[in-house]
Symmetry: C2
Subunit: 380 residues, 2 copies
């Protein structure tokens, strides 16, 4: 076990914490408030943000879409440059935050913004970012990753840099109160798969990381079961659990998979499938396919997360329990339901994986395009 | 649940990580290496530190004792001022790190160093600190607390400041290889009680914090059971578990107790009892005394940590399980064994608690001097 880890993002957690913005952003900063489709104007979050920025000079950029596109974000980058913005405040969920990270990095680059996805531009600096989280799911509020879509080429790809890790994040569970059920479900599933990508991997015996991951998985199961009895405590527990699922800690020093994400991203890029739902489609088939490597950890998950008894088919029963969890949330796990009757759906995905260089996925680099094809066939 | 939390200390974890010192300390810094009695010269840690500092200008201060004293630390403070030191590197366990924090803060103060304990001097700044941890126990390597003893008055007291949180900490499990068994046991018990102080408190339902705390407690139980089969993995798991026990995370937004620590400190100040052993003496009696407030959480601990079945006396059986854990490590839990035949031992402790203003201890401020007297009587 070897790693270097820190998470310096200051978390302001709890009801009423949006007011912390005021003292968290330097008084002389020129702030751009970035948000999505305007739901924050209906649930009171926008008004609280505006009130908290009363001492600051600020402007705004709205219209960041789910699966934020380079095309939209380029407009924000132009605004940042034109207005000499030096602080970005993302108010939203993972899409707004990821988009803001892209803006923060690309605004300091003279060339095309996509260069930071291709790696032609190395992100060493970025405009500082603050976050007001409205949808617990991606953990983006305190990590250093972002995923962006280029509509022109149907590509959904990510980048990582410590420079885009938010300086602070407000996690006020009240901001979730008006979320549609579908988005809450997506958040539960997204956080669940984030934990799995860092947990269902080959070696065992990292007592802290594995123990914490099991806590988060049990929490998500329990929160799923309590879905129809949502209250303040439920929202607080989901918001903190989803943050922990991808803040770097449970993955520190662990082999990590992320193949479910890489393949799932192509479903979103091709057919606009919700991110979380793309993961639910790919994951069970991938786990069955990679049993050779993952059996011990899947069995551990069966025992410690689902409370299953030992048996020869424990791994298969564990995967079925994962599918039952998705089903209990009314999340489909069939690829054909989203790809429609396109007979060439699988080949389209394989083509894109190859184009993006994702030809050796998984913690053991065993998921070649041929294996991806097997997984996708199983997922139909 | 409401809190603000971040832990910016960069952890370099794993075998061979001591070399990270070289790039973690600014090249132009004037470094003071601070350590204890010289065990690091026998186990190779000192040599690795020296090799890693080959590009730096540095000097050293040795002789920081267990339960570091103001009297010793004042000499280091004088050296820091005389040599214009601007970076401190603590190489040791909790005592060396706590002592280094005291030095780091007091070296920027013109008056008497003890002013930062009394609060007459507010610690807003400190010389930056790096750590090479050799004894996992206190979590001091990534938190903002320190406890120091003034020999002249037999006082053992602490202070907290974000300014003294280490910038980085190297956690190389190999550094523990030559530790005496007694110190390893102390580390296990110290980390155990740290978790308990943040976990066995009144409300329940903080799913992340409580779940993580239970992971750490189960880890420590298991590591205790494997004590005679110690290997690389054992050391790595203990080192990371003990860090997590007091890095602020499991306590974020939780009511916290710390009465066991406050009373235990007096045993150390009066009779030089090892810190961990002072905690083992006080804790069981305190839990029985405060059952009115702590019953629900003690029962939860019984179920989730010790795997006990429900029963009317579940709380008592849980406390007995804690005592059995201490006994399995050959740690005494009787006060009379350390205070000797002093008939006035309890009154001596009460006097000191009152002198230090510790007259309303515990998460509900219910532990008055009279209650402390009851607890100490039970602990005899």
């Amino acid at each position: 076990m070897k790693f270097s880890y820190a998470n310096p993002t200051i978390i302001h957690f709890g009801q009423g914490q949006i007011q912390q913005i005021s003292s968290s952003i330097p008084k002389n900063a020129k702030v751009l408030v970035i948000y999505g489709g305007g739901s924050i104007k209906k649930n009171g979050v926008y008004d609280q943000v505006v009130a908290s920025l009363s001492q600051h000079s600020w402007s705004e950029f709205s219209g960041v879409e789910a699966n934020p596109t380079k095309e939209t974000l380029d407009k924000a980058i132009a605004q940042v440059k034109a207005e000499n913005i030096d602080y970005l405040l993302a108010v939203g969920g993972g899409s707004v935050i990821d988009g803001t990270k892209y803006i923060a990095a690309a605004a300091l680059h003279e060339g095309d913004s996509w260069d930071l996805i291709t790696g032609d531009y190395k992100v060493d600096n970025a405009i500082p970012i603050g976050v007001v989280l409205t949808l617990p799911a991606t953990g983006s509020e305190s990590n250093m990753g972002a995923v962006v879509t280029r509509k022109a080429t149907n590509e959904k790809l990510g980048f990582l840099s410590p420079a885009v890790r938010p300086k602070f994040a407000v996690l006020d569970p009240d901001a979730m109160k008006t979320l549609p059920e579908k988005q809450l479900v997506n958040g539960l599933v997204d956080a669940w798969v984030h934990v799995c990508e860092q947990y269902i991997t080959s070696p065992t015996g990292h007592m802290v990381q594995e123990g914490y991951a099991e806590v988060l998985l049990r929490n998500l199961l329990e929160l799923g079961a309590q879905f129809n009895q949502r209250d303040d405590k439920w929202r607080a527990n989901l918001m903190w659990t989803a943050n922990q699922a991808l803040n770097g800690q449970i993955g520190a020093g662990m082999p990590q998979d992320w193949a479910t994400h890489m393949i799932g991203h192509e479903l979103t890029a091709l057919w606009g499938v919700d991110h979380a739902r793309s993961l639910a489609i790919i994951q069970p088939a991938l786990l069955r396919n990679q049993l050779e490597y993952k059996q011990a950890k899947i069995e551990q998950m069966g025992r410690n997360v689902f409370g299953l008894e030992d048996s020869a088919d424990l791994a298969e029963r564990t995967i079925q329990s994962i599918e039952a969890f998705y089903a209990s949330l009314h999340v489909d796990t069939g690829l054909s339901e989203v790809s429609g009757d396109k007979s060439d759906a699988i080949e389209l995905i394989i083509e894109k994986l190859e184009h993006n260089g994702y030809t050796m996925l998984g913690e053991n680099r065993t998921i070649t395009p041929d294996v991806s094809r097997e997984i996708l066939t199983q997922a139909l």
